[in-house]
């Protein structure tokens, strides 16, 4: 076929880049907020969570896209849920096997990926109507956009809430009040409201740089 699209045509590339910026699932569509608040106390769980969502979303998008012609319209939601649930259980088992401590920290939130609105949203909005390859890109892009915000929030919260990054000390021990210094960790960073405020600030910065996103209503 001569009119065959190249794998990374501009249109396909936009499937990856849009969700990172002007169509970000968290900051623009405001989806998947609950897990963004819950798992971002430390950087490591945030990264693991981001990777889990990338895996689940990319594969689920491809699977649903492959099955899109065979799924009866009336039961499509339950079919999607079965696919996502199966993948989430797989991811959960992998996490338990290889990074047990993080898996314990994430606890129920890995399971709750099943109900993550971003995944359902992309399956409904994209995978059901597109071929596998664009679906894969779309899944990767959206999950990366989600993960990116998670990692930024996790970074800020661990740095100021615990003085560490990935468990390593960043703020020297000698600064702390208990060792005769002046510094104290910000206890509010560990509380979920601060994650909400951090996400809010990211949204604020993004919208003040990109006026297209400001909705006038």
């Amino acid at each position: 076929m001569s009119d065959r699209e190249p794998l990374f045509s501009p249109k396909n590339r936009r499937l990856i880049t849009n969700p990172l910026g002007q169509d970000n699932p968290i900051t623009v569509q405001v989806l998947g907020i609950c897990s963004a608040l819950a798992v971002t106390v430390k950087l490591k769980p945030s990264v693991v969570m981001a990777l889990s969502v990338v895996a689940v979303m990319a594969i689920a998008n491809v699977v649903i896209s492959l099955m899109r012609k065979g799924i009866p319209n009336r039961i499509r939601i339950i079919v999607q849920l079965v696919v996502i649930a199966a993948l989430v259980i797989l991811v959960d088992q992998v996490l338990k096997a290889f990074v047990y401590d993080v898996s314990k920290q994430l606890s129920v939130f890995v399971g709750l990926i099943i109900t993550n609105c971003i995944i359902m949203g992309r399956l409904e909005a994209f995978a059901l109507a597109n071929k596998p390859w664009p679906s894969l890109l779309d899944g990767l892009g959206n999950a990366a956009g989600y993960g990116m915000i998670l990692i930024i929030v996790g970074f800020v919260r661990e740095l100021f809430g615990a003085g560490t990054l990935w468990g390593y000390e960043i703020i020297p021990q000698s600064w702390f009040v208990s060792n005769g210094g002046f510094y104290v960790n910000n206890g509010m960073m560990i509380l979920p409201p601060m994650a909400l405020i951090t996400v809010g600030i990211i949204i604020w910065i993004q919208r003040s740089r990109n006026k297209d996103l400001v909705d006038i209503s």
């Binding site: 002046f182 104290v184 509010m188 960073m189």
Partner: protein, 383 residues
Amino acid sequence: MKSLRKLVDKIKPNFEKGGKLHKLHSTFEAFETFMFVPNTTSKKGVHIHDVIDLKRTMGVVVLALIPALLFGMYNTGYQHFKSIGELANQGLFDLFLYGLWKVLPIVVVSYVSGLAVEFIFAQIRGHQVNEGFLVSGMLIPLVMPVDVPLWMVAISTVFAVVIGKEVFGGTGMNIFNPALLARAFLFFAYPSFMSGDKVWIAEKADAFSGATPLALGAMGEPQVNSTMDMVIGTIPGSVGETSVIAIGIGAIILLLTGIGSWRIMFSALLGGAAMGLLLNTFAVNPFMAIPWWQHLIMGGFAFGIVFMATDPVSGSQTNKGKYIYGFLIGFIAILIRVLNPAYPEGVMLAILFMNTFAPLIDFYVIEANMKKRMKRAKVSTNA
């Protein structure tokens, strides 16, 4: 005065559009209007300008805060020398001077950090610098414990101004009272510096208990401070909150000038008293059995309802709404204070909580009024 005006007029062109210092025009404007009442007049239609503009209003509130500030300084010295057992050797002036050295840095840090943020935002947005921070900058030091590290004051001030005010569009648009937000931020971010018995007295001797009457009450311990002490204010506590008399003077200034709403203050007192009485009736522990009127002079209750709850921006706007708003502040403040030992200072949380609900209260008050008038209109057409 005239020469000052001349000087201002002389340098003014530099800041106007095209001038070489145009970038600093908001800064210039802020100082100009601070010194002189702006002589702008409306160009179209009939408008009446009151001489009391925002800057003058804020000035009065700051004036009303001065007694509490001065007493706070005195009390800082008083508590310090009492704790090290040298109270008898110090004159009144020494006490005050010690407090001045402790409190003044907090005031300066609060103003500098807050105004810096205000100026930056005004510059970016091309607005005028709003004078809302004049009051917040004075309120923040007054609700801090005297031993708070200065960098925490700076961080919480910046947080309060940015997240509490600028996010919503600046002065007059904020949902929450910025000064209270600063305190709430400190309270949750650095709890060890905002509660307990260490922080309320500057350079306290270790053996001396510096717990506030509220903290003692929450622990079920007997009162060590007499009622008289609490009214005068010679007890440990945040800088400006201890003296009911000093706050009372401020309240009188606010009420006489009509800047603070008597409806809010009155109904908040009523709400506090109501909750106090209710708790007295069902008292099962000593803290619940504290006479209801004592709650009104303990902790930050007086300060909160006089200076924080009456904030015209974050409070209710309608007259009926003000009664409801004030009453619930008093009611919830005592409720949190007594029934939740983790948060001895319920006033702060109660006011922030009711700030959230103020627009809702106004909405329903207006709806009810509309309904009433619709009914009246119907009756008159039927008749």
